[in-house]
Amino acid sequence: MGGELKELEQISAADFFYRNRSLAGFDNPVRATYTAVRELVENALDASELAGRPPKVMLTMEEVAEGRLEGTAVYMLRVRDNGVGLDPEDVPAAFGKVFVSSKYKLMQSRGTFGLGGTMALLYGQITTNRPFKVITGREGSPLYEFTMKIDIQKNEPIVLDRRILAGVTRRSMTTVELYFEGNYRRARSKIIDYLHQTAIVTPYADIMFIDPDGLFFFFARTTDQIPPPPKETKFHPKGIDFELLKRLAETTKTRKLAGFLTAHFQRVGSKTAAEILARAGLSPDLSPKRLSDEELERLFRALVTYDNYLPPDPSVLSPLGPKLWEEGIKKELRPEFVKAVQRPPTVVEGHPVIVETAIAYGGDIKPAGEIQLYRFANRIPLLYDVSSDVSYLVARRLNWSVYGLKSLEDEPIALFFHVVSTKVPFKTVGKEFIANKPELAREVELGWRACARDLRIYLSRKRRAASAARRVELLSRYYALIAEVLEELTGERPPIETVLARVARKAKVEVPVEVRESGDGS
C-alpha cells in the first residue's frame, strides 16, 4: 500500500462503516467474499502501478474453519503485491483506520470507495474476531510483520505485535493476510470472472490465485508496458460540491480568497478569480477560513455558475490506450478480430472523461444468446447491473446491421467499454453501472461505430476470401467431373489443371489437395 499518507485524514469512519456495510458491498457472505478479494486486488494493483513496475499479484485463499451460517466458512485471504512497500511507521495508520482519501487533489484511481482495503480488514475482524497481518518491506530495508486489530469505536489501530522478519528486503513487497467469514462456493464464479476481466484491462499484470480448493488460476501478463501513471490535479470549479468547498476552505494554507481560488482550482487565474468573487459579492482579501456558511454558499454558487472556464485538464487521466486494450482482450479471449478505440477527452459534470471502446469478434468468443458486454471504470471490471448501464443501452440502440451484423446476441461478438475519469459518473451508491448521460452515450456510440467500421471491413474481406475459396473448390470439383466425362466422350482427359490454376491465382487460394488428387485418379 503506497500513497501519500501524510495527507490522509480520518473521518467518522469505522463505526459508520460497521453500520452501513451493505453500502460497501459486504451485505451478505457471498457478496462480501467477492468484495474482499476485489478490494485487496485493486489495492495491490494500484500499489504496484504506482511503483512503475508491472504488477505481480499473488492471491491465496484457504478455508480454515466452518462458518456460523449454512454454507459459510472462515477463510484466510492473503494478497501479496510487488509495490514500493511501506515505511513501518505508516503501517498502523494505513491499515488500522477507516479513512477516506483526503487528498484535496484529484486523481484517477481504482479505489472504488476511497476506503482502500480497510473495509475488508474490518469485515474480517467483525466476523471472526481475529487480527490481521501486514508484512511489508522496501528494497534494501528490513522486512516487517505487523499483527493488528482495529478499535472500532475509536477508529484507532491496535498493534498486537511488530517484528522484523528479515534484515534486508530483496524486493519491495506488501502482503496483507486476514481472516473473514464468507461463502467462496457461491462467490467463486464471480471472483474468477472478476480476475479474468481484470486481466483483460490489465494485460501488463501477473495475477495468480490459489483458491480454497487448491486450484491455481494464473492470468499471465503478455506485455511489459504500463500506461503512464495518473497525475494528481486540482479540482475544476464545475466539478465540486459544497461539502468539498467547505473542507478546502477550512484546511487551506492560503490567507486570501483570491489566492485560495487560484491555488486550489484549475483553470482559475487571478482574472477569473476576481470575476467570480465580484459575482459572489466577496472581497478578494477575505480569509477563506473565516467565511460564514452563507458567504461560502455565495462563493459556491458563483463558482459553479460561472461559464467561462476552460474545460477541465484531461492530461491527468490515464486511459489504457488502444494497443494495451487490444492486448488484454487478445490474451484473455483470443478473438480472431479485435479493434479498440480511444475517444478524445470530454467533460461530464466538471470532470474530464475519456471513453475507450473495443469490439472483439470470433475465435474463442462464441454466440451467447445475449449481448456480451465487458464494462470497466478506471480499470476496474463492473460485473453487476449491466442492463442499466449507459453502454448497454447504447449497444441495444445501435443499428448493428449497418456493420454486417445480424444481432449481437447470436453472433460471436463481444463489446467493451472503459471509462476513465477523476470522478466516474456512477448512477448509484453500489457503483456498478455508469449513468446514462447523453454526452457519455455519444462517446460510447462514436467509439463503437469506429470499431464496427473496422469489423465490417474485416468481415467483408473474410467473406470475400471464403467465397473465393468456395468458388475454387466448386470449380475444381466440377472440372474434375468434366474431365472425366470428356475422357468418356473423346478418349482423352483434357488438362484442367491450367484452367484451375488460373482460378486459384485469381482468388489467391490453393486448389484443394483432395480435388487435385481425385482429378488425377478415377
Binding site: 466440377y478 467431373l481 470428356l486 468418356e488 482423352e492 484452367v499 482460378v503
Partner: protein, 371 residues
C-alpha cells in the same frame, strides 16, 4: 421421314463436336462455354398458318468460369455422354431413367439431383443445344396415344402393321414415329378424339370400318409422339379432325395439335396446321346439335375458369374463332363433355346414329369430307 437433324449419325456428330470444342478450350487454358438459342419468348414466333416457329434471334452462353453455370456445363456434358452411350448401343431411356442416371455415387456433391425437375430441365437444354427433340438423342417421350383404322404401315422393327388389326385400341403410336413408313392409307380422314371412352365407343360401334375413318385416341393432351404422328399423316394428305370436350382445357388440346405449344416450340414438325377442330363448339351447345341438352352441361371448376382467363393471352388462341369460343366459358361458366352423347342416347343403336350424324355434319363442314 427422319430429317437430317434427327438422324442418329448427325446427333452423334453434334455431340462429339461439342465435346471437342470444350476440350480445345481447356487445352488452350481457357474456360469453355457452350452457346445455344434459349427458348425464350423473343425466340418464338407464332403464325396462324404454321403454328409456333422457333426462330432464334438471341443466344445464351453456359460459361465455364462461373459458379452458377459450371454445374450446367458439367450437367450438359454428362447428359450428352449418356445420350451418346445409349445411341451407340441402340438403347432408349425415359426422363425418369435420365433422372436415375444422375442418382449415382460418383455424382454426389456435383450433379446428384434434388428431384426430377432438375434433370428434365437439362433435357430441354440439350434439345436446344443439339437442335433436336430428345427422342433423337434416345430420351423417349411418354408414348401415349393409339390409332385405329385402315392404315398399313411399316414400323421401326420392319414389321408391316394394319392399324385396325392390332387390338381393340388399334396401333399404339411409338415414341419416335418418324421411323414409320406408311404403306397404304385406306381412310378418308382421321378423327383425333380427346377422350378414351367416346373414342372406344366409336370403334366398338364399327364406325371406322363402316365409314372409312381412323380414330386417334389422344387420352388428354396429345403426346409429342401422337402430334408428330398426326403431322406425318397430314403430310400424307390425310384430313385430320380434332374432337374434344367443349372446355377451356380442350381448346388448348385442340390448338396444340394444330399449332404446337410454347414449351415444345423449339421442336419442329409437331404442329399440324391442316388439322381442323370439329367440336364440341359453342354453336353446337347454343343452337346446334346439343341445343336441347343444356341440362347435361357441367359447371366450370375454379381451375377451368382460371384456364379460360389464361386462354385470353395464349398466342395460339388469338384467332377470333378461339377467342369467341373462350368468351362463352367466361360468360356462361359451363362446359360440355364428349360424354354428353351418352346423355342423349339410351340405346347403343341411337348412340351410333348420333356419332355418325355429328361426324358427317362436321367433317363435311370443316374438312369437306363426306362419309
Amino acid at each position: 421421314m427422319a430429317t437430317e437433324a434427327e438422324s442418329v449419325e448427325e446427333i452423334k456428330r453434334r455431340i462429339m463436336e461439342i465435346a471437342e470444342r470444350v476440350t480445345e478450350a481447356i487445352e488452350r487454358g481457357e474456360f469453355p462455354s457452350i452457346r445455344y438459342p434459349p427458348n425464350s419468348k423473343g425466340n418464338i414466333e407464332f403464325r396462324e398458318d404454321v403454328g409456333y416457329i422457333f426462330r432464334p434471334k438471341t443466344f445464351s452462353e453456359i460459361e465455364g468460369d462461373r459458379v452458377k453455370s459450371v454445374k450446367t456445363l458439367a450437367g450438359v456434358l454428362y447428359g450428352l455422354a449418356k445420350a451418346l452411350d445409349h445411341l451407340e448401343n441402340g438403347l432408349t431411356m425415359t426422363k425418369r431413367d435420365f433422372y436415375y442416371l444422375h442418382k449415382v455415387e460418383r455424382l454426389k456433391g456435383t450433379l446428384f439431383p434434388e428431384d426430377q425437375r432438375e434433370t428434365d430441365a437439362r433435357i430441354v437444354l440439350m434439345e436446344l443445344i443439339l437442335g433436336a427433340p430428345r427422342e433423337a438423342f434416345s430420351i423417349t417421350s411418354d408414348p401415349r396415344g393409339w390409332i385405329y383404322g385402315d392404315i398399313e404401315l411399316v414400323d421401326m422393327t420392319g414389321r408391316t402393321i394394319r392399324a385396325d388389326r392390332v387390338g381393340e385400341m388399334g396401333y399404339s403410336v411409338p415414341p419416335r414415329p418418324e421411323n414409320i413408313k406408311f404403306k397404304r392409307i385406306g381412310v378418308k380422314a382421321v378423327v383425333a378424339v380427346e377422350k378414351v371412352g367416346p373414342a372406344k365407343n366409336m370403334i366398338e360401334l364399327g364406325i371406322p370400318e363402316e365409314y372409312n375413318l381412323a380414330i386417334a385416341i389422344l387420352k388428354g393432351q396429345a403426346s409429342r409422339s401422337m402430334r408428330r404422328f398426326l403431322r406425318m399423316l397430314s403430310d400424307e394428305g390425310v384430313p385430320i379432325a380434332i374432337l374434344t370436350d367443349f372446355s377451356p382445357w380442350s381448346l388448348r388440346i385442340a390448338a396444340t395439335v394444330v399449332y404446337n405449344s410454347i414449351s415444345s416450340a423449339h421442336i419442329p414438325y409437331l404442329a399440324a396446321p391442316e388439322a381442323r377442330f370439329i367440336g364440341i363448339m359453342a354453336e353446337d351447345v347454343e343452337t346446334g346439335f346439343f341445343k336441347d341438352y343444356q341440362f347435361a352441361l357441367e359447371p366450370l371448376t375454379q381451375a377451368d375458369l382460371k384456364a379460360a382467363m389464361d386462354n385470353v393471352h395464349l398466342p395460339n388462341l388469338q384467332h377470333p374463332f378461339w377467342q369467341r369460343e373462350n368468351e362463352w366459358f367466361l360468360k356462361n361458366k359451363k362446359k360440355a363433355e364428349l360424354e354428353i352423347f351418352k346423355a342423349m342416347s339410351p340405346s347403343a343403336k341411337e348412340l351410333k346414329e348420333l356419332f355418325v350424324s355429328y361426324l358427317r355434319e362436321k367433317l363435311e363442314d370443316r374438312l369437306g369430307v363426306s362419309i
